[in-house]
Symmetry: C2
Subunit: 444 residues, 2 copies
């Protein structure tokens, strides 16, 4: 299904999209903090949002919008203040933001979608937003994808964006995406945001189904610390500007589009996990032999989220007992006599029986993933902007939409729990001193 190629441009790679990212004065650091994605025509829109009962105003706004209208023209995203747990004033601010942008774009305010990330309990700095929106609209361009990807990060160490291209008949169809992860060097900061643009023509309900399924196999399968944010948002637009035939039901074209969409989402999801707070490597857990995919995904996510497994990986300790214990408590029923555990190429348990293995070599395997990851974070493309910050905020540097699958930076754990056909994958990162430092050492 990999009949596509990686192209540059991020969310502005598909036809008919413009984007911008500017510094509007919302972040104390002065870094870019306001982003716009704009489709020249009203695009089909689908969304997946946090399941939390404590939600940001923008999340409620988007859900309400998408429950009645399955299209949108523009997405406005601010970083700095999450506008979550801000009471009724937060809702008023959200409405005003949408109305301001709509007026300047000369479109209906019900064509605007919103997202926010930053400190929970803080309203958006509305004065700065009012000044910033006209500048943001003026800055929007067909090459603005990278700037937008930079303006949505908070404490991410790298920006996350990608674009893929395939052909339908003889015409190109593209999907672009950008995301931010939950970094919390500044306390309270926490959100996963992802935005996907596509120039295919797809029926609204089919697009929503594709987006939901892709989210289940990507963003919903990553965990950094188990804390679901108040603002988690995935919005995906499809504007039809590829001028390819409309896809209205499942079939070869739909499957091809969904596979490419899933690839974009999985790339962004892995990039978020890899850049988790304090992470030294990416952990990938593959589960097979489950009764169904849901069960497999649940086991995988439990193992990758286990503090003990994460600590062991950080300590380069091939501690398979913790993997077995985490699988056991996942809530999925299985017979422990069928349990098989593999770490990289090392088979550690089969049929529930522990096996002898080369402990030093397994530890070296864990070390190598961290070493490769360190190299990756440090080796920036010198042609990209390196954005140094004044006041203790992290260095954010842009990256090309990387073709890497993170393979050399990945600790691969494979479990089989039985003879079922269900399989699933989850991604996470290790638990390091820096995670605690990032989340505790800030003193108010």
């Amino acid at each position: 299904m990999t009949n596509w190629q990686i192209i540059s441009g991020g969310v502005t790679a598909p036809r008919g999209y413009r984007a911008a990212g500017i510094a509007a004065g919302l972040k104390p650091s002065g870094l870019p903090d306001l982003a716009l994605i704009y489709s020249e025509v009203e695009a089909i829109a689908a969304g997946v949002f946090t399941t939390s009962q404590v939600r940001a105003a923008c999340v409620d706004y988007c859900r309400q919008h998408l429950s009645t209208k399955h299209s949108a023209h523009a997405i406005l995203c601010n970083a700095g203040q999450a506008n979550a747990a801000t009471g009724s004033q937060g809702w008023i601010d959200a409405i005003e933001s949408a109305q301001m942008l709509a007026q300047i774009l000369n479109i209906s305010s019900d064509s605007i979608l919103l997202a926010s990330t930053g400190v929970i309990g803080q309203r958006i700095k509305m004065d700065a937003l009012r000044d910033g929106i006209p500048k943001l609209v003026a800055a929007a361009s067909e090459t603005g994808g990278d700037a937008a990807a930079q303006a949505i990060v908070t404490t991410d160490l790298v920006t996350k964006s990608i674009a893929l291209e395939t052909t339908f008949g003889d015409r190109p169809v593209r999907i672009g995406g950008m995301a931010k992860g939950s970094g919390m060097i500044h306390p309270n900061m926490a959100t996963m945001l992802a935005f996907v643009t596509c120039d295919a023509a797809v029926a609204p309900s089919l697009w929503q189904k594709m987006v939901s399924r892709a989210a289940d196999q990507s963003f919903n399968q990553i965990t950094v610390d188990g804390d679901t944010s108040t603002n988690d948002t995935l919005i995906a637009l499809a504007n039809g500007e590829s001028r390819t035939p409309a896809i209205t039901e499942m079939g070869p074209d739909a499957e091809k589009l969904e596979a490419m969409l899933t690839e974009v989402c999985q790339y962004l999801a892995k990039a978020i996990a890899r850049d988790g707070e304090g992470a030294t490597c990416l952990i990938e857990v593959q589960v097979t032999g489950a009764s169904d995919e849901k069960a497999a995904r649940q086991v995988a996510k439990t193992v990758v989220g286990s503090s003990l497994v994460k600590s062991a990986v950080f300590g380069h300790d091939p501690n398979w007992g913790r993997i077995a214990a985490a699988a056991g408590r996942s809530g999925v029923l299985f017979d422990q006599e069928h349990l098989r555990i593999q770490l990289g190429d090392f088979l550690l348990m089969e049929n529930g029986q522990p096996l002898p293995f080369d402990r030093a070599a397994a530890s070296a395997y864990l070390k190598q993933a961290a070493a490769a990851s360190a190299k990756e974070v440090l080796s920036t493309d010198s042609s990209n902007d390196l954005m140094q910050v004044e006041s203790g905020e992290p260095v954010a540097f842009s990256r090309p939409a990387s073709p890497t699958d993170f393979k050399d930076q990945t600790v691969a754990i494979a479990l089989s729990i039985g003879n079922g056909s269900g399989s699933g994958v989850a991604w996470g990162c290790d638990l390091s001193y820096d995670y605690v430092k990032i989340n505790a050492e800030y003193t108010t």
Copy 2:
């Protein structure tokens, strides 16, 4: 309902029990590692065990035993090897352990219950066990409760034991208890074990119900790192040696006994949370206004288990947004406009609206709990044995069955999520550098 008093003696405080703890050579450190609790008469027995699909042999053994026979004479517990994920050989070792002890005690082997804690994937050192069991039986005495409490710990910093006494008519009725928490300075070590002795006469099915309910309000409401162990075990014996009338159904006597049992379990549960790996304080989360008790307990446990909340407490950061976010993702439905959050005496949010508060004073409140806890850990009773260890293992020192409710060492978080009558409490600890250090820095 507090018509009882604290007495000394731990699990040997109730009548008709003997206990022992010896160093049998199971732990590399040479510390006590084998414990026995013995009732002079066959006692009613109830148990609550890990829900994990990956279970220690002793857990399967006890469950099988208690599903057919609701009484027992003795509990044998070893520390050092968890005998979990040890395949069929683990089961053979468990059976042999029970048979050996039964032979020396001259009782039937189906009167023995078993528990293990230590490294997952390691069999019990059977040679050491075979040598140890006769010495253990010889050492058993009516004052052996403290020795037994010391022999079940692994990396706990303090032993955990308590005994309460009340009267039924003019006769004393006592409940004793001891527990160990999950400390993992030696990797793979993880288990919560708790043993309760009682000299009341109770019908088996009623006793099991009381024990299950007490566990739900105590051990099932604590979390250190969210990782349920393969060996978690609570066993409660009731031998009738108080010679008080048999309690066969709910009523004033049963309620009194259950309240005392719950108090014992809650004390031990709080002691485990307080002594969580790397913990600097105890965190108590009270939830009210839920639709029912189960929902309230779920919210409380989610908040107390949040890595972000735990990190914030460690950093003395009154970061209420993380409390709101954790409650929101607990899976319990509520309207965020009803959310009320209090930290100690500081009201931080009401009706979903953030309130201004004295941030410095709230941070000082968090500091004070950690300071009080540090003092508590260091101030040992000099009349007790202080057990120094040779090789990097932690200092384990015994303590009197402490009358403290840990109040000054507790960070109290109170949430109200609506107008329902459901309330619940959960306990945990903060997330510190030492947690990561304890679980990562051991290099194999």
